[in-house]
Amino acid sequence: MVQLDSVTKVYQKKHSSVTALNEFDLQVKKGEFVVVKGPSGSGKTTLLLAIGGMLRPTSGIVTVNGNDIYDLSEKKRAKFRAENIGFVFQLFHLLPYLNVYENILLPDGVAANRAGLTEVKEILDRLRLTDRAYHKPGELSVGERQRTAIARALLNGPDILLADEPTGNLDSENAAQVMDYFAGFHNNGGTVIVVTHGNEAEQYADRTIYLNNQLL
């Protein structure tokens, strides 16, 4: 379960400040599939990073699976992230010097719930990456890169999948496939929070929330 209580995030610059989230409240139940929409600059990415324990809010409390995550130490929060949260970004975010296989196994270095070889094979197979396993990101197509990122997010069986415009750089066919994987994860009881501009997630969503940039 994800709960945000009056979360405010203000980006402080030298001469100006931007309020990306203003006393934002949100509750996402376990196993829910939530789509987040809103215009550019409305704070969607900010919201996801805050939920994922990557961005400390200026005020408010973020609770994930019963943990006030910003109350945890840096070390515990990192571990919590490794074991409970899968991130997928618009721009894939793979390490350029690791091949697909190694990129997918990256969280394994830190997560306690290590994936076995069969699980890796299974996930490579499911995401149709088996014959690309030993290629580096530079040698992959855009769709393959995003599938690699998804495979990495799903490998350790997280409870929550956070995706920030995961289909933004993909054609409709690849986009539909990505959503299929998310739906599969959701059908197995996973919680999904996905930011997207398109409509491809609509059919799977339990709920769509809209952010408006009411900048103060």
Binding site: T45, L49, G52, M54, L55, E74, K75, A78, K79, F80, R81, A82, E83, F87, F89, L91, H93, L94, L95, P96, Y97, L98, E102, L106, P107, D108, G109, V110, A111, R152
Partner: protein, 381 residues
């Protein structure tokens, strides 16, 4: 896992890694070759100093030194055979070897110094330069002051202590006690003052040690001479040697200054490369944070790279530096070439210091990269 990431990253960003490595190798190479050669440099200077020559004065052991320095010669005498003993002593060479007998006498109501000079003993192989005249018996050289006051000119016949001499030369003004000296052959002086077979000084100029490779050959020479000539005292003029040693130390200081400069440049170089590298890797930091790596582990990744490059650079630098020293060293230090040997302890130093040095150079950029908010990095596109 971390080590694997580390190595893969190094191999992936080859140019950056190679350039960093080059900086480290340069610094270590310079240091190692300098220290490897510095021992040879020290010895070489000693040898060169020796080759510049030093002057020996051998006087009777019981000489009152105060008197000696005041009058410029010893009151006492020693047997002339000492010259032969000294001549037989083979541990060093000299350009000039003469025996002298000085005596203050009153001549024409003036105090003059009568100086008898033995024929020069010329060791073979050493080129002769005329620093000390060898005077034919029956002739005299007259000091400037004496010649001036008595109006003596070359070719004059003089009567000194009932012996008649021909003036062979009038010496030019020296501004020292030499101006009131009358030089003649040793044998003549010995006869005139009634000290047959006696001398009061042996002078050896431009001496070179032939055997000793020790740090202080002069000290050893002194001891050896004391053994050969137990009843003599040895005075060694070392001023040239000291000046040489000072010069060497100055050069060494200068090199240390240059080395320091090189090391600072290398540190900046490594730091600059690290900054470029960490900029490239900011995204990476974000990714690693997102998948659950903590700051400490990521820092290990960055500093580990520095340590690894430092280690490899240190090893390469040591061997290149040693190789360079043994290649170039003998060209520079021709005499002491064989003292240029690998200094193994430097390997240990290289292997410890280079990684630490590299890590320190990388520390600031790395810690900036690691502590930057990863979320912000991931939001930047």
């Amino acid at each position: 896992m971390i080590l694997k990431l580390l190595i893969k990253e190094i191999l992936h960003r080859k140019l950056n890694s190679v350039l960093s490595l080059l900086a480290i190798i340069t610094a270590v190479t310079l240091f190692v070759s300098f220290f490897t050669m510095s021992e040879a440099s020290k010895r070489e200077t000693i040898r060169l100093t020796r080759d510049m020559g030093f002057n020996l004065r051998i006087i009777p052991k019981e000489t009152d030194m105060n008197q000696f320095w005041l009058t410029g010669y010893s009151d006492l005498t020693m047997p002339e055979e000492y010259v032969d003993k000294f001549f037989l002593y083979e541990n060093f060479s000299y350009a000039h070897l003469t025996a002298t007998l000085h005596k203050k006498v009153t001549w024409r109501n003036r105090e003059v110094i009568l100086t008898g000079i033995s024929p020069e003993i010329e060791p073979s192989g050493i080129e002769k330069t005329s620093m000390i005249f060898s005077i034919e018996p029956g002739t005299v050289y007259i000091g400037f002051e004496i010649a001036n006051s008595f109006g003596i000119t070359t070719g004059d016949e003089l009567d000194i202590f009932n012996k008649s001499f021909t003036v062979a030369r009038i010496l030019s003004e020296t501004g020292s006690s030499d101006d009131i000296r009358i030089y003649t052959s040793l044998i003549d002086v010995q006869e005139m003052v009634g000290k047959r077979g006696e001398i009061n000084e042996i002078k050896a100029l431009n001496c070179l040690c032939l055997t000793s490779d020790e740090i202080n050959p002069i000290e050893i020479l002194r001891n050896q001479l004391n053994e050969v000539l137990p009843d003599a005292k040895v005075i060694i003029n070392q001023t040239i040697a000291v000046a040489r040693e000072r010069q060497r130390m100055m050069v060494e200081k200068y090199i240390v200054f240059i080395l320091t400069f090189v090391v600072i440049v290398c540190a900046i170089w490594i730091a600059a490369l690290a900054i470029i590298n960490t900029r490239e890797r900011q995204r990476e930091t974000g990714i690693l944070r997102a998948v659950g790596y903590r700051i400490g582990k990521i820092a290990v990744l960055f500093l580990g790279k520095a340590l690894l490059l430092g280690l490899v650079g240190g090893i390469f630098g040591y061997f290149i530096g040693t190789g360079l020293a043994s290649l170039i060293g003998p060209e520079i230090f021709k005499i002491t070439a064989n003292t240029i040997k690998p200094v193994y302890s430097l390997l240990i130093w290289s292997v410890i210091v280079a990684p630490v040095f590299t890590a320190f150079s990388t520390l600031i950029p790395a810690s900036l990269a690691v502590t930057r908010d990863p979320a912000l990095i991931l939001m930047e596109e």
